[in-house]
């Protein structure tokens, strides 16, 4: 069953110039059809201004389509009465860890969401415990969030969303401001939640290395959904991705470059292990290793 479904989704907004000129229409999202099944790990790629954040904001009714329909867990986001439920099913985590902290103690910050939902106190504490444990932040429950590293702050933000027991977490560049370690921590936490709790994850990112774990990748350009597939399928299109102002993981890029030089390496290599295996095959195959024609 699909947790998120968009049907011919459009989002236009008007920009007013000075002196009452005619407003300009910007089509931020155009005719997007998509289905995300429960429990999937989805990544959305696209250059700055391609419409991915606008699309993501439709997934918990922060925005409603100006054309077409968006369903979140079978609820139409146009229905005002459903907004409360929709936001409980689909939680968001944003880019800047410092903008998402509401309390001076970690555990209270995590309890803020369920408290707003009117969850009984005992249950709130249970959820706080549980989500802090799942994001690996339980040791910091009595700490001040301000003293944490960026990666830890983001994990607290994710715990805060988890405490609302959502079916789906939407993350808009959650690692953009983090150091390598922080990035690793956050992605690891998210993958764990996806695997062990079956939470649907929608990850928007500019780091191609984070995408390789996804079940499915959506690529956006000019508000449209232009590519869709597994990471391997998507990253096999090195040149097309470059045209879309995107990139591939460096190991994929290296494999692609060597392939153009005539080495028999498959397209869409995603990990270092795969790459090393491919190179070893060539070495052990000796000279009879058939070279691939490049165009």
């Amino acid at each position: 069953m699909s947790i998120i479904k968009a049907d011919k989704l459009n989002y236009d907004y008007l920009e007013y110039g000075e002196d009452g000129e005619k407003p300009e229409i910007t089509h931020a999202v155009r005719d997007v059809n998509l289905k995300i099944r429960e429990g999937q790990f989805i990544a959305i790629l696209g250059h700055n201004g391609s419409g991915k954040s606008t699309l993501a904001k439709h997934m918990n009714a922060l925005l409603v389509p100006t054309g077409g329909t968006m369903w979140v867990d079978q609820m139409d986001t146009h229905e005002d009465d459903e907004v409360w439920d929709i936001r409980q099913r689909a939680g968001m985590v944003f880019q800047n860890p410092d903008n998402q902290i509401v309390s001076s103690v970690v555990e209270e910050d995590v309890g803020f969401g369920p408290e707003n939902l009117g969850v009984p106190t005992d249950e709130i504490w249970k959820r706080v415990d549980d989500s802090l444990r799942k994001t690996g932040m339980i040791a910091y429950r009595h700490h001040s969030p301000n003293k944490l590293s960026g990666g830890q702050k983001q994990r607290v933000a994710i715990a805060g969303v988890m405490a609302m027991k959502p079916k789906c977490i939407i993350m808009d560049e959650p690692t953009a401001m983090l150091d390598p370690n922080g990035r690793h921590e956050v992605i690891q936490a998210v993958r764990d939640l996806n695997k062990s709790e079956g939470v649907t994850v929608i990850l928007i990112t500019h780091y191609m290395e984070e995408v390789i774990y996804a079940d499915n990748v959506f690529v956006m350009d000019e508000g449209r959904l232009v590519m869709q597939g597994t990471p391997r399928e998507i990253f096999s299109h090195v040149d097309e991705l470059h045209e879309l102002r995107l990139d591939v993981p460096h190991v994929t890029q290296l494999a692609h470059a060597l392939r153009l030089k005539g080495l028999d390496i498959p397209e869409g290599i995603l990990s270092i292990d795969e790459f090393v295996d491919a190179i070893m095959k060539i070495r052990d195959g000796g000279t009879e290793g058939r070279s691939c024609q490049s165009d």
Binding site: G49, G150, L178, D179, D247, P249, L254, L263, R283
Partner: protein, 283 residues
């Protein structure tokens, strides 16, 4: 126009329960005309360090020299120093404030006391160098895209004609192409203008590709200060510091372990490609 830090220590809230050493006995030299990278985990002291470079922060102990002059010496003109050492903070586009792009870029030169004509010249040149099209000069900076705004903000510092340009994570939040464009622009500027560039970054791939000297900060101390190839050969130590090496380093080490005779110091895709082709006898 070299900058030298001599045993610099910076302590927050000294003598209180909140005392914290943000910099511990840091000595380093940023030679003229080099492209220098600074990496380090969150809270390692990178931002504190760069704010010492133009006298925004004063060392608790130790000295900072610009052209061999102590910038905290008596009668030293620190206001003037800030025109020589330009600092571009993180997310600099939040600091744009004027009604149009060109006026915003003119703000620095205006403070330098340049005439209207001169500052327009400076602003136009700076905007052109960062690749902002003339058609945008009279637009409100708030109408521009994220990448364009960032360019305008960088131009605002460039227009002061600094000898040293310090950039704190200039590519955070930009798409891959935007990242390359900004860094290529900075690299070109460094070559054309012969200025010193200091780049603070969380991307090991970016520093591997662009810088010729790499400083690693760890808990307020300088852990490494060497060319990137050399620094990344200590990748296991870097990992303990919450950092990493570029993906290429890991690939080359993995291949070497399997007995392929590759250069483990290769850190960029081009270097790795060449070394692998060579090792396979496929040049």
């Amino acid at each position: 126009m070299s900058i030298r830090l001599d045993h610099v220590t910076y302590t927050y809230s000294p003598g209180t329960a909140y005392e914290m050493h943000a910099l511990k006995d840091v000595s380093l030299e940023l030679p003229d005309g080099h492209f220098i990278g600074i990496i380090g985990h969150t809270g390692s002291g990178k931002s504190t360090l760069i704010q010492h470079l133009n006298g925004l922060m004063r060392p608790t102990s130790g000295h900072v020299y610009f052209n061999d002059e102590d910038i905290w010496g008596d009668k030293y003109d620190r206001r003037n120093l800030r025109f020589h050492v330009g600092l571009v903070f993180q997310y600099p586009e939040y600091q744009l404030f004027e009604t149009d792009v060109i006026t915003d870029v003119c703000f620095g030169p205006k403070n330098q006391g340049l005439s209207e004509e001169d500052r327009m010249k400076r602003a136009e040149e700076a905007l052109r160098q960062v690749g902002v099209d003339e058609s945008l000069f009279r637009k409100s900076p708030f109408e521009l895209s994220g990448g364009q705004k960032r360019r305008v903000a960088i131009a605002g510092v460039l227009a002061m004609n600094p000898d040293v340009l310090v950039l704190d994570e200039p590519t955070a939040g930009l798409d891959p192409m935007g990242r390359d464009e900004i860094l290529n622009t900075v690299a070109d500027l460094q070559k054309q203008r012969g200025i010193t560039v200091v780049l603070v970054s969380h991307s090991m791939e970016d520093v591997a590709e662009y810088v010729d000297q790499l400083i690693v900060m760890n808990h307020g101390e300088k852990a490494f200060d060497a060319p990137p190839r050399e620094v990344f050969s200590h990748y296991k130590e870097l990992e303990k510091m919450g950092l990493a090496a570029p993906q290429m380093t890991y690939i080359m080490h993995a291949l070497k372990e399997k007995g392929l005779d590759v250069d483990v110091h290769a850190t960029t895709i081009e270097e790795a490609e060449e070394s692998i082709l060579h090792a396979l006898g496929r040049e």
